[in-house]
């Protein structure tokens, strides 16, 4: 039997209307063979954590261009851990200054992707780092 598709949640937390990148990513990952749950704009950290839990995704991808990543991302990481989802890979992208990356990584984010990232870069990173699947 071939390995099952990797399931990814692409979420846009906060009051951020920039959804072009998230949509480009969702379609691109679908075309790379991923199953992508897209939850739309204006997600609270609780919505993101609930979706990750119920959907049992392998990867959570947060797309943030509003500048609110330093409050939203650590909160989401906390909630995911509280739900027992420590094995879920958390990634982020959008407009995130390099200076903020170490703090996000300390909070539990495994990688941050900025403007110009190609879909195939994201796909290979996801394939290499997603938790093992039966």
């Amino acid at each position: 039997m071939t390995e099952r598709p990797i399931k990814v949640l692409i979420a846009k937390p906060g009051l951020d209307g920039h959804d072009r990148g998230a949509k480009v990513l969702a379609r691109g990952l679908r075309d790379e063979g991923f199953e992508v749950v897209y939850t739309g704009l204006r997600q609270t950290p609780e919505m993101v954590a609930t979706a990750a839990l119920q959907e049992d995704v392998d990867i959570v991808g947060l797309s943030i261009l509003s500048g609110a990543h330093m409050t939203l991302v650590p909160r989401i990481c906390q909630l995911l851990q509280a739900e027992g989802l420590a094995d879920v890979l958390v990634t982020a992208g959008g407009i995130i200054p390099d200076d903020d990356v170490p703090a996000l990584k300390a909070a539990g984010v495994s990688a941050v992707f900025g403007p110009g990232t190609t879909i195939s870069e994201v796909a290979s990173y996801f394939r290499a780092n997603a938790r093992p699947r039966e």
Partner: protein, 324 residues
């Protein structure tokens, strides 16, 4: 964790005790048809059968997800628990999928009595995934009172939901064409309830009248299925729809010996039989025999039916001891 059987027992116990993460992981196992899933279904199936399984189907964009969200809202206001399984198509080329139905259902985060799960159809035709029925059985077993199934946006022939659900709601939007043509025969034939959504749009009343006229003389005699109008976006008509759904229980749609559940059990048994036979055919010994048979058929030395008869005969004769 130890063996699949142990893993299944552990996940079932915690899921039955209310742990949502275990429930989610059980659903993943079911979706991937693992050995854990089989063990879990053995344990859970006897606990299922209490939930009202409600299928929501209709053309792309008719408002299925919005309507499901509105129904969830009313159910929760009444203190009733509800699970949703929302199916979206998989790309036939890459196997990937965008599961977007959740977008309209995000208001219930943090409410333990709502559980929403998206599923990719994974190449299965018919508007559902091949494992959707099993996923519903799991959600039923852990105690959700209503399990709603949103199908892939359907054409005319994706009617599988009618077998999976106790109540099939077929959604139509106004102005889908001058005549109501989008769903005609196939879908409407399996409808227990027909809903014209987007009641705020011009033509909703007209579409509903056309549907009533069309359905009046259908195979259900002069009493076709009820045709309701909703505006999922505002909630208008949704309480009436919920009442009509609830009425189905009194009409026997959930009875063990009723036509709906017998048809479902029939489909489940046939499906399991097919799975079992395919799995046996994949075992090393049989795979070899099958390869040989395929070459004989390709060379037109025997016909496919004879080959199938021979394979089936040796399958039934061979003891493999693979059943757990």
């Amino acid at each position: 964790m130890g063996s699949p059987a142990e893993a299944a027992a552990e996940l079932c116990s915690t899921a039955l005790a209310g742990d949502r993460r275990s429930l989610a992981r059980l659903l993943t196992a079911v979706e991937n048809r693992t050995l854990v899933a089989e063990g879990a279904l053995r344990r859970l199936y006897p606990l299922a059968g209490r939930a009202h399984l409600v299928g929501i189907t209709g053309p792309p964009g008719a408002g299925k997800s919005t309507l499901v969200a509105a129904l969830v809202g009313h159910l929760r206001a009444a203190g009733r628990t509800v699970a949703v399984v929302a199916v979206d198509p998989s790309s036939p080329i890459t196997g990937g999928a965008i599961l977007g139905d959740r977008v309209r259902m995000q208001a219930y985060a943090g409410d333990r009595d709502v559980f929403i799960r998206s599923m990719a159809a994974r190449g299965h035709a018919g508007g559902l995934a091949s494992t959707t029925g099993a996923a519903c059985a799991v959600l039923d077993a852990v105690g959700f009172e209503i399990v709603m199934i949103e199908t892939v946006g359907t054409g005319q022939s994706e009617v599988e939901v009618a077998a999976a659900a106790d109540t099939t709601v077929v959604l139509e939007a106004p102005e889908m064409g001058d005549e109501v043509q989008a769903i005609k025969a196939g879908l409407l034939e399996v409808a227990d309830l027909v809903v014209v959504n987007k009641g705020d749009r011009p033509g909703a009343q007209r579409t509903a009248s056309q549907l009533r006229a069309m359905l009046g003389g259908g195979r259900r005699g002069i009493h076709g299925p009820p045709v309701l109008i909703t505006t999922a976006a505002t909630g208008a008509g949704v309480p009436e729809l919920l009442a009509a759904i609830d009425r189905r229980r009194g009409e026997g749609a959930l009875d063990d010996g009723g036509a709906t559940r017998l048809a479902r059990a029939e489909a489940e048994v046939s499906g399991a039989l097919g799975d079992r036979i395919r799995r046996r055919l994949d075992e090393p010994g049989m795979a070899l025999a099958r390869g040989a048979a395929v070459r004989e058929v390709a060379a037109h030395r025997i016909d496919p039916y004879t080959a199938a008869d021979e394979l089936l005969a040796s399958l039934l004769g061979v003891e493999t001891g693979s059943s757990r």
